[in-house]
Amino acid sequence: MIEILKAVTFLLGFQLLGTTAVMGMGLPIPGPVAGLLFMIGWLGLNAPKPKLLKETAQALIAHLSLLFVPAAVGIVQHLDRLAYEGKILLAAVVVSTILALIVGALTFVMMVRLTGTPPEGQELRS
């Protein structure tokens, strides 16, 4: 248990560090993203870290979608708007998301071929 507490404290510490840096330097990115960058630097340097950091991170990431629920419920504040332009917004989201998925995967695969990037040997077999 104490190891999990250490891991959570470690994560919060980096979030605080990121938030402080963002506020101090007036950067346009949120604190947690800056914290993420600092954490990459720290782990990249092989600096000491809590024993259960990996497990704690996995637990948080595994149910990442739960964390979006409170923001999603916020849509109830816009029911009037959805009544008259909900269909437009839905169409814009659906079409642009499908296009962006296709363009993203296509560009990635084309650039892999163009630059001769080695495959990872984990491609999906049909």
């Binding site: 994560l11 954490m39 704690t56 948080l60 419920v73 816009h78 993203g104």
Partner: protein, 240 residues
């Protein structure tokens, strides 16, 4: 004492406590997850969508304002911070793999992110959406906290953006697997990266469920898209 009054008193007390709304947020998500398991983890059922729909209905029926709900739900919302930081761990663990694919990643990031933004603006404009709605749409592919910040900066409605972000996330998570299979994309890196750019954390959560490599590339894509979009928008809004 009249029992009906008593029930009303208890309810009047409960609906103002964070505990009730926190509990309902967790419970509805568990219900959503149970449905997801029932359909054998098919992405057609999204635990977030199930939870948000039930909660939305409860708020409407009980006439509870969103800010009262958020008093309780903020504890869950807050965890987005440490969860974002914790993405550093899979990123560092897979660093060699990421470095080898740096050029395809940057190209895909620019192409996919621009497509998501401009296609949405174009469709909304052609169909006659209001200016505020279009501005709220622009950051929809970026993870919630960043998207809400961007929306505010460019004159959108942050809470509408949050809803659109989640909608985009759920939609991407639902269609990515059938779409990629249909089009014959077999590279897990490409599949994961595309869903990370377009559908942020919800897409990333889906990618991790399907394949570890896809998940890692989705996480990188989400982080890069968030940071790059935030900087690009900040730059533009200073120029304008």
């Amino acid at each position: 004492m009249n029992p009906i009054n008593e029930v009303q008193d208890v309810w009047a007390y409960l609906r103002t406590t964070p505990l009730l709304w926190l509990m309902l947020t967790m419970t509805t998500y568990l219900v959503g997850f149970w449905c997801f398991e029932k359909v054998k983890r098919s992405p057609i059922v999204s635990p977030v969508a199930v939870a948000a729909s039930i909660l939305g209905l409860i708020l409407m029926i009980t006439d509870t304002p969103y800010n009262v709900y958020f008093e309780g739900a903020q504890f869950v919302h807050f965890l987005l911070g440490p969860a974002t930081v914790s993405l550093a761990i899979p990123l560092v663990a897979n660093f060699p793999r990421i470095r080898r694919a740096a050029i395809p990643m940057l190209a895909a990031l620019i192409a996919s992110s621009a497509t998501a933004i401009f296609a949405a603006i174009f469709i909304a404009q052609v169909m006659g959406a209001s200016d505020e709605a279009i501005r709220s749409l622009i950051p929809k592919s970026v993870t919630t906290p960043i998207a809400m910040g961007i929306s505010e900066q460019i004159g959108g409605l942050p809470s509408l953006t949050a809803g659109l972000v989640v909608l985009t996330g759920i939609l991407g998570a639902i269609i990515v697997t059938p779409l990629m299979n249909h089009l014959g994309f077999r590279d897990w890196r490409a599949r994961g990266f595309a869903v990370g750019v377009t559908s942020h954390g919800i897409g990333t959560a889906r990618a991790f469920q399907v394949n570890e490599v896809a998940g890692v590339f989705a996480a990188v894509a989400m982080a890069l898209n968030g940071v790059v979009t935030a900087f690009v928008v900040a730059l533009f809004s200073q120029l304008l």
